[in-house]
Structure formats: structure tokens, C-alpha cells
Amino acid sequence: MKYFPLIWAGLWRKKARTIFTMLSIVVAFLLFGLLQGINQGFNQAVQNLNVDRLYTSAKTNMTDGLPYAYAARIKGVQGVRAVSHWTYFGGYYQESKNVIPAFSTDAEALFQVYRELTIKPEYLEAMKRTRTGALVGEKLAQQYHWKIGDRVPIGTSIWTDKQGSNTWQFDIVGTFEVPSAGMPSFYFNHDYFDEAAAFGNGVVHYYIVGIDSPTNATRISKEIDAMFENSTNETRTQTESAMMQMQLKQIGDINFIANSIVGAVLFTLLFLTANTMMQSVRERTSELAVLKTFGFSDGKVLGLVLTEAFLLCLFSAALGLVLAGLVFPALKPIFGDFKMPLVVVAMGAALAMLLALVSGLPPAWRARQLNIVDALAGR
């Protein structure tokens, strides 16, 4: 745009002031990008979860468990593809701080329910043949240098076997790739566990139900829960994302915290930017009057100042968001594969424009209303 030199001139009149204002905006939007990015990341992770899977647990609390017999009845519901289950083992390897997220399960059904997990068929076969067999996630196996054929002792503080021991021996018969960070990655046969455990027999913590189509999720959930209503073991069935949301909420209201902090930051920033723009225009009273003298209309002058505000805010905000985006890969260990969600960029742009408007409009209006004669006379 041909007016660019004028706008540039307006911005850089006081170098230090412009640079510091820009830096403040950059920092504010860096923070915004990080916080909202994390917030939205959680939201998206929850949305992306599989809706063709349901989780059935005891209504009173998951830890209360459900009878093993429920499996067959759930399988009978129309639309159910496969049913597997989890019973939490709570294991550790060698020392209690080496936590192993171990579960007893029906392995074959498990991999039918989790369609996205790939495993070699021969491993599943081996699992069926070996009562004490265990299937392990590849990363976990690498971490402890386990190979197929190893016999590993897994300790647990919860389950004692019938011999009175708290260390259980498992034979690793296969590995599988675990796509996401939160997925448990140590599975062994439920039959072995159930028979050997000194107590808690015949009980599972979660039924994992694979359904044919996500559109049937609500109907099937209702049907399952209705089947066991008013029994001694009432159930509650949820989709994976509902469950994840519930778990996230337990950590705390992340949404609220992120938004509050961002709100506080943006409010203070608004003040800073508005002050800068106002000062800048006040100092340029005579210059703006001169422009008007030469025929720049009131509207044009308003436009010039407003454009200045927009350039300042949008450029700095973009820089801040870019920086935030660069930091994201560093958060990988906590959040897994995380990129700056596009929605955050859009939100950032909108906020930057709002900032520009609110901080730029009053001074721009003042410039518009400037009376040439008074301004030139120094009034």
C-alpha cells in the first residue's frame, strides 16, 4: 500500500517505545499460545478419542468392579462387535518405583476392540496357548530390555496369589506398538489371574465394548446400563471421550485456569498498548495537522492511525504465536505429539485484532477530530 511509509513513520517515531510495546505484546501472545494451546490440545485429544468404543464400569465407583458374567450379556446387545475387559493389576518391576501399568484381560477380544492396535497374529496365538503369557508394548519392553521368551517377575501391592506371594511370574509372548502415550501396555491372561488370585475373583474393573458404528453409541450405552439396573452391580457406560473428560476434570478445571490467566494478561496488555498509541498520537498532533493541511481527509487520518495499531498488534502477536509454536515440541514428554492447534492461531489473530481496535480506536478518533487551525496553533 502506498501509504505504508507514512504508517511506518508513525510507528517508529520513538523507537524504544515501539520496541518495548511490541515485546510486551509478543510475550503476552507467547503465553496465550502456550496456555490456550495446552487447553485446546486437551480438548482436541478428548474429541479425537474413539467413539466406536464404550467403557462400562461399576456405577458406584470403578474400583468396585463388575462380575465376570456380565461379559456374555453385554456381547449380546445389538451393535456390539466385541467385548473385552480390564482388571487393574497395579504392578511394578523390581522396585516399587518402576511402575508397570499392567492389566489382566481377554487378549484376543482386546485387540478386536482396539482396532487401531496392530499385533502379529502369532503372538495372539501364543497368548492363547500360554496361560502365564504376557503381551507388552514395544516401548515398555525396550525400557526394561525384555525380549520375547523372557520370564519377568512383576510385583504388586494389591494382589496376593494363592501361595501368598505378591510377585507374579509372566512369560512374554509378544509385543505390540502403542500409538498414544496413555495406553496401558502390559497385558496378561484373565484366566490365569482369576484362578491364581487369593481374592477378588470373578471381578473386572472395566468392560471395553467395541461397537459397529459411533451413531449407535448412545443407544447401546443406554441398553447396557438398563440391563443391569436395580441389580447389586449397577453399571455406567461411557464413550472414551466422556471418560477422558471426566478424568481431566478431576485434575482441575484447566479451562478456567488457562482462561483466567490469559484474561488477566490481556487486560494489562490492553492498557499498555492503548497508552502507547495514545501517547504516540498526542505527540504527533502537529504532524497529523500538517497531513490534513495537505488534503488528507479526516477519514484517511483515522485510517492511518488505526492501521498503525493493527500492524503493531498483529505483527507482534504473530511473532508471539510463532514462538509458542516452537516451544510445543519441547512439551512432548508431557503431552505426547503436540502441535499448535489451528484454532488457537485463529483465536490469537482475533484477539490481536480486538486489541488493535480497542487500543487504536480512541487515538485514531482523536486524530480524526483534530482541528487543523487549533492544532497548528499549538492548542
Binding site: F20, L23, I251, D253, F271
Partner: protein
């Protein structure tokens, strides 16, 4: 002496002229208030949590868990184990000659928060009949203590405040039974105030689980008796247990989350502080620019550079302190005493009060001053170094 007088008069002049530069000065105040408010608020979470955890437990009480349990919820102790533990060395005896121990087990119950209706795991703790002797800090605030062999529970005051359906007379449903709330208790501000309590034998039989517990809590004869107690258990071949001082155990539990919150507080606060520094730099540079003629005149009159620097810095400091104080007060107003619940699913949730302690306020103001100092430094030096001739010509 002369220098001090110089400094004094220049500073006074500076400060007196602030009202003329009100909006620019407000930038520092508001910017720093924002940083401090956020920093103090977030740290209030970890302070509150640590305070709750530190308050939980005494040094002359011990906690026994199954060997290898990371936490109470992962521990399982059989009836026999409980009996053996109760026979350990160094346990104080009650007037009836029985050891003061409380075998306890926890269950998780789904409760709904009063505000947004979020579903949270709440701990229902079964306790032994010597519970009240073991914990003299336990007091019934309203209603009465539950009777054993009846399905009655008492609820902690934090739990009562946070969750729906925990008033006296309300009933909650667990797997095995319905329970009536008969009382509300306090226990010295510790983590038990977020819990529901019932008699352990009643709880076990309602759930048709075998007798047994997850932890055994023991009153020692004295703080020094801990080692003897621990040795007597670890040397017993029939037992496989971990023994902790009660206070140590709870402190450990809070450490991880406390650390995470502190990291978040300092990272976010740090980033905001950097932003605030730029804001402060902005303001102070403007302040100096606006008063170029004044400064030059003073320098020409013989006022030294030190006086200039100190006057600018004190202006920056004053504004920052005001901002910091405002921020701390805002944090205190909005968040002090605010009850918050947080925690993972396996261990149940923890309810505690956000605490804006005096230390936090001091921390906030210190941060404010540091920001102000850094923000004021370069402009201050500029004011001191200004070539007098050029400045005077600019008038």
C-alpha cells in the same frame, strides 16, 4: 551528606511530578499488579496444598502399608497382618490396655461438585474403633459421630462444602449399601477433611469383602519410639510391610503435585514478568524522555549522575511496589480461602483451601520490585549519561 540531600530533593521532585504522567505511570502499576496477582494466585494453590499436607499427620504417629505400595490405595493388608502390626513394639496403650491403632481402608465414591457438577472420586475411609483416640484433632462440628454396625458416615467439612448431597440426613450409595450422613467433622485442617468416614468393619461387611485393611495407623509411645516400632515389624518374617512416620508419608504424597504447581506458577509468572519488564522499560523511558529538559537543567546546575539514577530507580520502585501490593491484594481478595479440589483418580481427590500467606505476599512484592528495578535501570542510566548540551538544546 550533600549527595544524600541531592538525591532526596531530586527524588522528591520526580515523585511529585508523577500525577502529570499518570496514565504512563499506571502502565507499570497495572502491568505489575497483573503479574503478581497471577503468580500469587497460582502459588496459593501449592501453598494451600502443602499446608494441608503438612498439617496432616504427626511425628509420633506411624502409618503401615503393604510392602511396595506407592500409596494407601495400592496397599492390601490381611486381618492377620493387622493383628501382627497391632502387636508391634512402642505402641501406646489406651486406658483399657488395648493398643491405640486404627486399621483403615479406603473406597472411592463418585460425588458431584456443587458448582459445575463435575464428577470427582471422593475417599470413603473405614476407620477402627480407636480412631478418635488416635486422632485428638478430630472434632465433630455438627451432628454426631457414627455408630458402629450401622450404615452411618460422618463427612469432613471440606467435603461437605465442595460436594452435593453431603448434608446431615442425606444418604449416599456405595456398592454394598446406603449410608446416612450423621455428622460433619474437622480435623485440624488436614487432608481428612476432604473425606467421608465410616466404621471399617461395617464397611467391609456391607461390601462383602473379607476383613482386612489397607493401612494401619498407630499412636506411638513417643516420637523416638518410631525406630523400635519399625524394626519390630520389618524383622517379623510373617509381615511384608513399609513403615512411615505419618507426617513424612503425607508430605511425600503432596510433593509431586506441589512441585508441578510450583513449576507452572514460576513459568507462567516468569513469562508474565518479562512482559511486565518491557512495560516498565516503556514507562520509565517515557518518563525520562518527558523530563529531558528538567534533567538536563538539573545536571547543568550541578546535580550528580548518582542522584539522577537513584531518583529514576526510586520512581520505578515506588510504582512497582504499589503494583505488587495491588496484585497481592487482588489475589488475596479473590482467592484466599477459596476451596479447590484437585488430584488423580487412583488416590481420590484432595480438597484444600487456596492460601495467600504473608510469605506469598512478600514473594509477590519482591518480584514486583525486581521487575521495577530492571525496568528502571536502563532509563536511569540514560538519564545519568545524557549529554547535557544536547538535552538543553532540545528544549
Amino acid at each position: 551528606m550533600k549527595m544524600w540531600r541531592q538525591i532526596g530533593s531530586v527524588t522528591a521532585m520526580n515523585l511529585r511530578s508523577i500525577p502529570q504522567r499518570l496514565s504512563t505511570s499506571l502502565v507499570i502499576v497495572i502491568g505489575i499488579a497483573g503479574v503478581v496477582a497471577v503468580l500469587v494466585s497460582v502459588l496459593a494453590m501449592s501453598t494451600g496444598m502443602i499446608k494441608t499436607m503438612n498439617n496432616t499427620g504427626r511425628d509420633d504417629r506411624a502409618l503401615v502399608l503393604r510392602n511396595g505400595s506407592a500409596a494407601e490405595s495400592g496397599s492390601v493388608l490381611s486381618r492377620d497382618a493387622v493383628r501382627l502390626i497391632s502387636d508391634g513394639a512402642g505402641i501406646r496403650r489406651d486406658v483399657d490396655g488395648k493398643p491405640i491403632v486404627s486399621a483403615e481402608g479406603i473406597r472411592l465414591v463418585n460425588m458431584f461438585k456443587k458448582g459445575d457438577g463435575a464428577e470427582i472420586n471422593v475417599v470413603l475411609r473405614g476407620v477402627g474403633n480407636k480412631f478418635q483416640v488416635l486422632r485428638p484433632e478430630f472434632r465433630i462440628l455438627e451432628g454426631r459421630m457414627f455408630n458402629a454396625a450401622v450404615n452411618e458416615i460422618v463427612v469432613g467439612k471440606s467435603a461437605h462444602a465442595q460436594f452435593k448431597g453431603l448434608a446431615i440426613g442425606d444418604r449416599i450409595t456405595t456398592r454394598g449399601a446406603n449410608w446416612t450422613v450423621v455428622g460433619i467433622f474437622s480435623s485440624g485442617g488436614d487432608s481428612h477433611e476432604s473425606e467421608l468416614l465410616a466404621d471399617i468393619d461395617t464397611l467391609n461387611s456391607a461390601e462383602r469383602r473379607g476383613g482386612g485393611a489397607q493401612s494401619v495407623n498407630v499412636q506411638l509411645q513417643s516420637t523416638a519410639a518410631f525406630q523400635a516400632f519399625k524394626d519390630s515389624l520389618t524383622s517379623n518374617p510373617a509381615l511384608a510391610v513399609d513403615v512411615y512416620r505419618e507426617r513424612d508419608y503425607y508430605r511425600q504424597q503432596s510433593r509431586t503435585i506441589g512441585r508441578v504447581i510450583s513449576v507452572i506458577a514460576y513459568v507462567v509468572g516468569g513469562i508474565m514478568a518479562i512482559g511486565a519488564i518491557f512495560g516498565a522499560l516503556n514507562t520509565m523511558y517515557s518518563a525520562v524522555s518527558a523530563r529531558l529538559q528538567e534533567i538536563a537543567t538539573l545536571r547543568a546546575l550541578g546535580f550528580g549522575s548518582t542522584a539522577m539514577v537513584i531518583s529514576v530507580l526510586s520512581e520505578a520502585l515506588l510504582l512497582s511496589c504499589i503494583g505488587g501490593a495491588i496484585g497481592a491484594v487482588l489475589a488475596w481478595l479473590f482467592f484466599n480461602g477459596h476451596v479447590v479440589s484437585t488430584g488423580g483418580t487412583a488416590t481420590g481427590q484432595l480438597v484444600f483451601e487456596l492460601t495467600v500467606s504473608p510469605q506469598l505476599v512478600v514473594t509477590g512484592i519482591v518480584w514486583a520490585c525486581v521487575i521495577g528495578l530492571i525496568g528502571g535501570l536502563f532509563p536511569a542510566v540514560r538519564a545519568a549519561r545524557l549529554p547535557v548540551a544536547t538535552a538543553l538544546r532540545a528544549i
